[in-house]
């Protein structure tokens, strides 16, 4: 009996430890990225807007680690400064839609009846828009710019969270402990705060973590198409689009922001995967 049990417990412990290490590793990298984007103003070795016409399209060197672009601006500084738009905006965006969507979802589950129907049909409407078309429409109405691109992305991505929070809350509502809380005299607000939120936070957090990479790509994509951040604001997507004709001759100018996007998206996606595995009860003791 004990021989049959011990190996599975050991396997689980090993898996748990490995997951924990992975979590620390990717979490650490992600925090570094976020800190870098937050303090990007202080980290740039040069002014990312400073043009130096005597030193255009310079290859990477000791002074300019990633070279310079066609206006002689230091690429490393521009990539670092770009993290503010790319990473920080994405985090704000994902944080906002996760909170907003969850609130709507909980309201739907709690109120039911016509409130539920109305809000859910509205979310269906937003969900039915192809992202790019919607962003084009927003850009046409409100003009381009990174704020409007974020607005367009937020408008079409909150319904995912609303649906998730709604289904999770509905599943909880039939649980005996919710009825016990009601019989203990807890009001709606207290029940939501004490019993609903802690129980639905896990899946929402995982979705949000996995969404960071996707949103980063979408935002860069919109900027690449000229619907997001506009030059000279340093933003990775628009920097790539802006310099794409230099790819055959001065590849470092295009590839630096490209790799910045690649690595950031990868780190956040791997972190999201790890968090999901970590919260999975199957990997728990």
């Amino acid at each position: 009996m004990s021989q049959a049990i011990t190996p599975t417990i050991r396997v689980q412990n090993v898996r748990q430890n490995r997951l924990q290490r992975k979590l620390w590793f990717f979490g650490g990298l992600a925090i570094l990225l976020i800190l870098a984007s937050f303090f990007s103003d202080y980290l740039c070795p040069y002014d990312p807007y400073l043009q130096d016409m005597s030193l255009t399209k310079a290859a990477p060197s000791a002074e300019h680690l990633l070279g310079t672009d066609r206006y002689g601006r230091d690429m490393l500084s521009r990539v670092i400064a770009g993290s503010k738009t790319s990473i920080f905006s994405t985090l704000l965006l994902v944080g906002f839609i996760a909170v907003f969507g969850s609130i709507i979802g909980i309201i739907c589950a709690w109120a039911g009846k016509w409130v539920d129907t109305l809000l859910m049909r509205m979310s269906d409407m937003f969900l039915a828009f192809p992202g790019l078309v919607f962003a084009l429409a927003v850009a046409a109405v409100l003009g381009g710019g990174v704020h409007n691109a974020i607005f367009a992305l937020a408008a079409i991505s909150w319904p995912k969270y609303a649906r998730l929070a709604r289904s999770q809350t509905l599943a909880l509502q039939s649980a005996a402990f919710m009825q016990a809380a009601k019989m203990a005299g807890s009001g709606t607000c207290k029940i939501i705060r004490k019993h609903v939120l802690p129980n639905i936070a896990g899946p929402i957090l995982v979705t949000a973590m996995l969404d960071i990479g996707t949103m980063m790509m979408e935002l860069a994509g919109l900027s690449f198409l000229g619907l997001g951040a506009k030059p000279p604001i340093p933003e990775w997507g628009s920097m790539m689009s802006d310099t794409r004709n230099l790819l055959p001759t001065q590849p470092w100018v295009t590839l630096s922001p490209g790799f910045a996007i690649f690595f950031s998206v990868m780190i956040f996606n791997l972190l999201g995967d790890t968090v999901r595995d970590y919260l999975d009860p199957k990997n728990r003791k």
Partner: protein, 252 residues
Amino acid sequence: MDTILQTAHLKKVFPRKDGEDIVAVDDVTFSLKKGEKLAIIGESGSGKTTVARMIAHLLEPTAGQVMLAGEDITNAGGAKLKEVYTRMQMVFQNPVDSFDPRCTLGDGISESLLNHGKSKRQAAEMTKNLLALCGLGEEFAQRYPHEVSGGQCQRAAIARALAIEPELVILDEATSALDVTVQAEVLDLLNRLQEDRGIAYLFICHDIALVQDFCDRVIVMHEGKIVEEGIPDEIINNPQQAYTKKLIDSVL
């Protein structure tokens, strides 16, 4: 003696998509006096839990009324309902599911105390006493529901139901997960509380021998209806209905 609980023609129909509605409870009328111990017995699926949930205002009846101390509470809500829950509590059939997996047992037991104006300190002290009353050490206040056995969880659930000193406690199979000695202890405790505070019990149970020992009166349910009602000894020795006879023969 005054009546504490009265139900009148309670009925619950669960609609089904294929048209064959389930009549879980049909025309259930009974009353319970203050300090009385009334048992409901019946086979699995006979509608016992459904009756309990309608009385506890957790499930809306299709028809009928529930009266608590002469007052119609069928449509109570808000503050009125909160007051009702200071007088009526329930121990749920599945004790582990009736505690939030993310809260400790202590949190669960003290929730009603905190909601009714006790300070954190008072509530913690009272929780400790309640646990002791139900035969659990104070360390159980810090445990999570998945960290205790079914029987321990059941005792914590009883402690929670007793916390705000209700006049009526609905016990839905509240002793089914306990072994014989602990069960005797818990029943002893319930008996003591009934004598001291005059608490009435609605005791839903499978075990006819237990009902015979513990309860003053028994209701036999079959397919949602009350088929027989009377003193346990009489019903067991002289069942009037074929169904009751079958039910008794199957255990004894």
